[in-house]
């Protein structure tokens, strides 16, 4: 008999006033009893709308059924067939727009906590499994993957399981891409990412850090070296700024820089040699997940933090859960507000930021209401640090050094949607390098699609 409770089992979490002072994970995860109880809310419906809205098509009712039976390892094996990073996705996927968004239980009440169950199953497996990954028999074919973020890791994992000899080239000194430099420890502990990467290495994937493709080596050179296909998963790229006065003052960061100092370089730990400003009043500009991450990091470093966003709460592009967490942690939101200038004090650091009020007008090209500046509404916010979380534009390093690689006018690499194939034979691409800033799971889906296409191509099926 299904559990007919209208509400999800709540996620045990660190209390807001405690967690906003530490970098430990916010959500603590279900225990076995709670997981089984939540799993029993699944109706195991026939047409499985959850599966069709999962970018990597995990057989969700099947794994949840195993959880309900208490057979957690079997549940894991079902997920692992489709996803190479379940512990990551269970934490950072926007389930509300995907699997959970289509869950039949969500029509009346809350959907099944699919993300929470995925996380539980992956963590349970990582804690209990003693089985060593079996290294598949080599098929003798070499493939190069550029970038070790979600799309690259997924592509590498899928190909390695098929017996390909995969080399991943990573520009930074550690693998993981946005999972290590972007998403903070308190949302995605780095030990979990490392575990996923270790399991890829156990499958035989060779990860070469400190190699910047486009600089250290080019795509053409990789093809010349005998790689039969190259997958470009080089990620989002260059941070955008607003081009307002004062943006290059000391104390103005891109969210990428601020987050990289904290997450990749561990600037919040005493043993790290990397500095980050000890700000007192931080203003974060933007309303996406990256803005939430930057604001919550700044809070944990001891600052008073406000988020300035030019539309209203309803238009915030960040996941609802991230917004709620940020609010609970004491971050102040200034909606319908847009910066027009940043001012510096005597020290050369930021001293305040002038903003103006906005009103929502007619929908713009994105379909969202266009924010319209309100004349004479300027006001100042005191701040010694401003973080710009406005998105990124694609990195030029690969497109500038790869002849015949077609890109969109805005810089994204053009691919065939069903295969990820670019305008160059044998060269595939996916993730943010193609779509612009998007989600971990969409990047994984693209890595998966490309891996399948590369396999078909090399086996000569098309």
């Amino acid at each position: 008999m299904a559990n007919m409770s209208l509400k999800k089992n709540p996620m045990p979490s660190q209390p807001p006033e405690v967690r906003n002072r530490n970098f430990s994970e916010v959500a603590l995860g279900y225990d076995e009893k709670t997981a089984i109880d939540e799993a029993q809310r699944c109706l195991n419906c026939k047409n499985k709308p959850c599966v069709s809205s999962c970018p990597v098509c995990i057989d969700i009712p099947a794994f949840i059924h195993k959880v309900a039976e208490g057979d957690f390892e079997s549940a894991y094996q079902i997920i692992a067939k489709s996803s190479s990073l379940p512990a990551v996705c269970g934490r950072v996927c926007p389930q509300e727009n995907q699997c959970e968004g289509k869950c039949v239980r969500g029509i009346k009440g809350e959907p099944v906590g699919i993300g929470r169950l995925e996380r539980f199953v992956a963590d349970w497996h990582n804690a209990h499994s003693t089985e060593k990954p079996v290294r598949p028999k080599s098929n003798g074919h070499k493939v190069a993957v550029i970038g070790s973020g979600p799309s690259g890791l997924t592509c590498a994992g899928d190909l390695a399981k098929l017996g390909y000899q995969v080399t991943v080239f990573e520009a930074l000194h550690v693998a993981g891409g946005v999972l290590v430099y972007g998403i903070p420890e308190f949302r995605l502990p780095k030990a979990i990412v490392q575990k996923e990467i270790d399991s890829l290495a156990a499958l035989g994937v060779d990860i070469q850090t400190n190699v910047v493709v486009g600089k250290t080596i080019t795509v053409d050179e990789l093809l010349d070296k005998g790689y039969e296909a190259v997958f470009i998963g080089s990620g989002a790229g260059l941070p955008k700024f607003m081009n307002i006065p004062g943006e290059n003052l000391k104390g103005v960061y891109s969210a990428n820089e601020f987050l990289t100092r904290i997450n990749l370089m561990k600037a919040y730990l005493p043993e790290s040699d990397t500095p980050v400003q000890q700000a007192k009043q931080v203003v974060v500009v933007g309303g996406g997940n990256v803005a939430m991450d930057a604001a919550r990091c700044a809070k944990r470093l001891g600052a008073d933090v406000s988020i300035v966003y030019r539309r209203t709460e309803a238009e915030l592009p960040a996941r609802r859960e991230e917004v709620e967490h940020a609010m609970e942690e004491g971050i102040v939101f200034q909606f319908l507000t847009n910066p027009v200038a940043i001012h510096g004090g005597e020290s050369g650091f930021v001293s305040s930021i002038t903003c103006q009020r906005m009103a929502l007008g007619e929908p713009d090209a994105s379909g969202r209401a266009r924010p319209v500046p309100q004349e004479g509404s300027e006001f100042d916010i005191e701040a010694d640090c401003v973080i710009m979380a406005l998105g990124t534009s694609p990195n030029p390093l690969i497109r500038d050094t790869t002849s015949g690689l077609d890109t969109e006018r805005w810089g994204g690499i053009i691919v065939e949607e069903e295969t990820g194939l670019t305008s160059r034979e044998g060269v595939y691409a996916g993730g943010d390098a193609v779509t612009g800033a998007a989600t971990v799971i969409l990047a994984m889906g693209a890595g998966k699609t490309a891996a399948a296409a590369i396999d078909r191509k090399i086996r000569g099926e098309n």
Partner: protein, 279 residues
């Protein structure tokens, strides 16, 4: 891990290291830089490529001990390993078609100016090198510059080496004596480059300055290295590190370079104390 093949003290605070990094050596060109981390908790610092040898797969860096990271680096010896070493990053110096160039280096910046002078000299360009140091005991690469320049002008602040005065004094003298340069290339402290550029603007001589701002990834991702060039924001790591010196907002660059001064001073003192205690 990247092995240190050779270590040489060039003066009391400046050290040369030849590092085994075949992939970087295969691609490096004058004007480009690398990023290194000394150890697992280390920060990423950019250092310009001073030389490279494609055959032996080595890259030479020259650095001045100015903070905690360079202090730690300076404690590594031949045979030790540098944890991370990535490159070559940035765009190479543009040298095509240049017939007569003044290369103006100051202090440890001469380490970066030298490979540029050498490349120009090797391609048959007339190279006037002007090197400036505070005093004789800080001089580096004297023989190397002398061997790779048509004319080599030595300047020191205190007159203990070459002529007493600033590199801008020497450059002004050359220009006013009728030397006509296609281009001036300047590499050194920001203040020095600012004044070199002010001088050449007066004479309308195209000038390229090599910038070395704070950066993390060196691939365009963080934007920490941004500077204003011709009123537009540029990233030194992917758009530079060399820019039109007459367009650079040097005052802004000077301000930005001091962002972490307090942190750096503290970290440097702490590191020095640790090495003291270990003795």
């Amino acid at each position: 891990m990247y092995r240190i093949l050779e270590k040489k003290r060039l003066n009391p605070t400046v050290t040369l290291m030849r590092v085994e990094a075949p992939l970087v050596a295969a691609k490096a060109e004058p004007g480009q830089f690398i990023i290194l981390r000394v150890d697992a908790d280390g920060e990423r610092i950019p250092l310009t490529v001073a030389d490279f040898d494609r055959d032996s797969g080595s890259v030479t860096i020259i650095f001045q001990v100015v903070g905690a990271t360079t202090e730690k680096l300076n404690h590594l010896e031949q045979g030790d390993f540098i944890h991370d070493f990535v490159g070559p990053l940035g765009r190479p110096t543009h040298t095509d078609g240049l017939k007569k160039v003044a290369v103006v280096g100051g202090g440890v910046g001469c380490a970066i100016a030298f490979p540029v002078a050498k490349k120009l000299f090797e391609q048959g360009c007339e190279v006037h090198s002007i090197a400036g140091f505070r005093s004789r005991d800080l001089v580096i690469l004297e023989d190397e510059f002398a061997a790779n320049s048509t004319r080599f002008v030595r300047m020191s602040d205190d007159g203990t080496w070459g002529e007493k005065g600033l590199v801008t004094d020497a450059l002004r003298k050359l220009i006013e004596s009728g030397e006509k340069y296609d281009e001036v290339i300047t590499i050194g402290p920001l203040v020095m480059m600012k004044f070199v550029c002010a001088l050449t603007r007066e004479f309308g001589i195209k000038t390229v300055a090599s910038m070395n701002p704070i950066m993390i990834d060196g691939t365009g991702m963080c934007g920490g290295c941004r500077l204003t060039v011709g009123g537009k924001t540029k990233f030194a790591c992917v758009d530079g590190p060399e820019f039109d010196g007459h367009e650079i907002d040097f005052d802004e660059a000077i301000a930005r370079s001091s962002t972490y001064r307090d942190f750096e001073r503290h970290a440097y003192e702490e590191t020095c104390n640790l090495f003291e205690e270990a003795k």
